[in-house]
């Protein structure tokens, strides 16, 4: 099992409540994934300003020296916003350089996400506690995806928790299990992808990273995933301006979508959607197998 939720605010109406509504949805998916949880929240952001979410698991370090050294390396200002063992670095400097610098120079730290819009938090433990610890309810933005994990393919660790980043402002959550992840991991190693865990979902994320880096659109990458990924999956993929859903052709893993004038919500189960405002008037449907669904913000 595992639980997935995604909420995409098409209008301004619920953006101030994005975190609270996402936390409500996540709560309903606790039973599907009591091991660990994580969420990615997308805000308006500023063009040219990169946000990097870093994790120093179980520690709450003084980030000021790191920020100062990063400023020197980038030749640009760096701001830090810590939340427990996570911190969001923001800089107008080169985001890719900043990401690589953090990976190369700060021991014991993982870069969970990078991009102009995304912030990403994850941890082992009860999903409600994870949401509380990382202040999900007070977060605002345009859209969020979140995950509750019941581990089947690899250990219960923070690194094995979802979402997994697949590129700038792109991340993935997965309900299911891939059967060709070991072979695919080897193939992706050959294409320069690196992996931190034995987790099958991380391989799916690495696969999408590779395809996107090769120039595929997200839509094209997901269609190719239908060919190259073997196993059971419902994916939700967060992007800078929306999210996407893909289910494998057999579609054993559940998914339900509801849409109103103000929002699009997806989840593993309807009960996560049942309490959203205006749900009584929502158009509700089950995504078809092997079909790519995407929603993007109106320009």
């Amino acid at each position: 099992m595992c639980g997935i939720v995604g909420l995409f605010c098409k209008t301004e109406t619920y953006r101030a409540e994005l975190g609270r509504l996402t936390a409500t949805m996540l709560h309903e998916m606790r039973e599907r994934g009591p091991d660990s949880a994580g969420f990615a929240v997308y805000g308006a952001g500023t063009t040219g300003r990169t946000r990097l979410t870093v994790l120093a698991e179980g520690q709450e370090p003084d980030w000021a020296p790191t920020a100062a050294a990063l400023e020197a390396a980038l030749g640009a200002g760096v701001d830090v916003r810590p939340t427990r063992d996570h911190a969001v670095f923001e800089t107008d400097g080169d985001g890719r350089v900043a990401r690589q610098w953090l990976i190369d120079n700060v021991a014991g730290v993982d870069v969970l996400s990078y991009g102009e819009h995304i912030e990403l938090y994850k941890s082992v433990g009860d999903p409600d506690l994870v949401a509380e610890r990382y202040e999900l309810s007070s977060r605002t933005g345009t859209h969020a995806i979140a995950h509750t994990r019941m581990a089947t393919e690899s250990a219960v660790t923070t690194n094995g928790s979802h979402p997994f980043v697949t590129g700038a402002d792109t991340c993935l959550v997965h309900n299911g299990s891939l059967s060709n992840h070991n072979r695919l991991r080897t193939v992706l190693h050959g294409h320069g992808e690196t992996f931190q865990t034995e987790n099958d979902s991380e391989v799916a994320a690495g696969y999408l990273s590779w395809r996107l880096r090769e120039g595929d659109s997200l839509d094209a990458a997901l269609h190719q995933a239908l060919v190259d990924l073997d196993g059971f999956y419902t994916f939700a993929i967060g992007t800078a301006d929306g999210f996407a859903i893909l289910r494998d052709p057999i579609a054993c893993k559940p998914a339900v979508v509801a849409e109103t004038d103000d929002w699009v919500a997806m989840s593993s189960e309807y009960r996560a959607i049942a309490k959203l405002p205006g749900v009584a008037d929502a158009e509700i449907f089950e995504p078809e197998p092997a079909r790519v669904y995407t929603w993007t913000l109106a320009a």
Binding site: E28, A251, C252, P254, V256, E269, Y270, R271, A272, I273, A274, K275, I284, F285, E286, P289
Partner: protein
């Protein structure tokens, strides 16, 4: 729980009562009517009924609604998730909206009506249940269906009736593809009558003669042996 207009009607609000307390009350009752409010996608709503009760659920339900149902009538004014009326034995279950995966799975008897669409694997391994779907059905429906009747007013997705045994499938719309060992069969007068009877029971309107019939081609290995006991005895004799 409070009694409302009718003294025989009990209302259970799942915003304040647990599914377990609802189902405990339903299992204890031998007759009467129940109204369930605020189901909000809860699982196992009205599962395990074993008496001629009338239950109306006002809203959408989660997994396994009306599972193992016997004798009663359950009507859900909303949608239903995975495993609706799974292993149903008798009685009637009706959903006014859509059902997701595996509606009527392994059902042995009774009538399941999905007024909207049903998702993948509708009627999987059905064993005697009658299922009437007002809209479309998803892929691999009637997979390994053993007995019973599935009537679909809309279309069927891929691999309909894969490895089907003796169940009868009637589809009015398009069938994307037939599964292994499933074939179209002639629609005789008795089959038109059967569809007419099921449509009437379901309260759905369609021309019975406009349906096409699908069933087993009996070409899989399991159909090559008519009497397994005789077959085994013969093999023993040959040794």
């Amino acid at each position: 729980m409070t009694d409302v207009a009718s003294p025989n009607t009990t209302t259970v609000d799942l915003a304040t009562s647990s599914v377990r307390s609802l189902n405990t009350a339903l299992h204890a009752a031998t007759s009467g009517s129940f109204v369930v409010t605020n189901p909000q996608g809860a699982h196992a709503v009205a599962a395990g009924i074993n008496a001629p009760l009338d239950v109306r659920v006002d809203g959408s339900v989660g997994y396994y609604c009306a599972g193992m149902h016997q004798h009663g009538t359950v009507t859900v004014d909303g949608n239903a998730s995975t495993g609706l009326a799974e292993n149903m034995m008798s009685g009637t279950v009706r959903i006014t909206g859509n059902a997701t995966m595996s509606a009527g799975a392994t059902g042995v008897g009774g009538l399941l009506v999905v007024q909207g669409n049903a998702g993948a694997r509708c009627g999987i391994s059905m064993k005697g249940i009658d299922i009437v779907v007002g809209g479309d059905i998803g892929h691999m429906s009637a997979f390994m269906a053993q007995a019973g009747r599935l009537v679909v007013l809309g279309d069927a997705a891929d691999d309909l009736g894969d490895s089907i045994y003796e169940a009868e499938v009637y589809v009015r719309g398009a069938v994307a593809s037939l599964g292994s060992d499933c074939e179209e069969k002639p629609m005789e007068a008795e089959h038109v009558a059967a569809v007419a009877e099921l449509l009437a029971a379901a309260g759905l309107d369609a021309e019975p003669a406009s349906f096409r019939r699908y069933g087993s081609a009996r070409r899989l290995y399991s159909f090559h042996v008519d009497d397994i006991d005789a077959e085994i005895a013969a093999r023993e004799t040959d040794r």
